[in-house]
């Protein structure tokens, strides 16, 4: 029988790989009797579905100084090639 530590690891692995039959069964057996790990599983599924690519409207932009530095660096490298 899995401990909660083992069950949480297998529940996490299930999002990234196919479980073996043995792992799948042991996870189901543990989840059947452990509400804490059922909650953990629910939490990480919700986490996976809310994490998205950063959107285009995000506030991070190149500052005027950054742009200038980028221009200068690239120009000098291109000129000295």
């Amino acid at each position: 029988m899995y401990t909660c530590k083992q069950a949480s690891r297998i529940a996490s692995d299930a999002l990234d790989r196919k479980l073996t039959w043995y792992e799948w069964l042991n996870l189901k057996l543990h989840l059947a009797i452990c509400a804490m790990c059922r909650n953990f599983e629910q939490n990480i599924h919700l986490l996976a579905s809310t994490v998205k690519k950063p959107d285009d409207t995000a506030a991070v932009t190149l500052s005027a100084d950054d742009r200038e530095q980028l221009r200068k660096n690239i120009q000098s490298i291109l000129e000295n090639k």
Partner: protein
Amino acid sequence: MAHEPASAEWQRVEEWIADHGDYLYRFACSRLNGDRETALDLVQETLLAAWKAHHQYQGSSSLRTWLTGILKHKIIDHMRARSRMEKLADDVSNDPASDWFGTDGHWHESPKTWSASPEALSENRDFDNILKACMDKLPPLQAQVFFFREMDGDSSEDICKNLSISPSNFHVLMHRARLSLRHCLELHWFGQQRKNS
């Protein structure tokens, strides 16, 4: 191409900076835990590499997609060098499981049900800020692996190959990233919501 006048060559790069500079910079920042200095370096390397290879650009994908692909490789190279340096010391050798579990393998603190729909959370700016703050606290390699997997949907095999890590290290890193993020979100978001309702 090599005999193109320098000003024309330069103009091409100038256009890339104007049209895609912010996007590439934002992408790099999001993958580097907000390390803006390194992000700027990698954007510069990307533009130079793109300039060297621009005759290979077929136009089959958008220019932005092509540039982002180059940037992604630069980020992977950067992380790979870094993970070699750290020898995964921070991320894999230590066992921070004791942060979450007792020696008997039981939870220190019981996870609770999260009642919220993914749609509502994705549109919530406040939640988004908390999520970003929680991700910023992850160790670099954990954050990288998590981003590639959950944000980009890359396959486990590709991530292991690109970052030169073993499948078992990959799964350890994902498990730890999820444990940390779950804990952080419980503390700073879901626990607070429960209190207020």
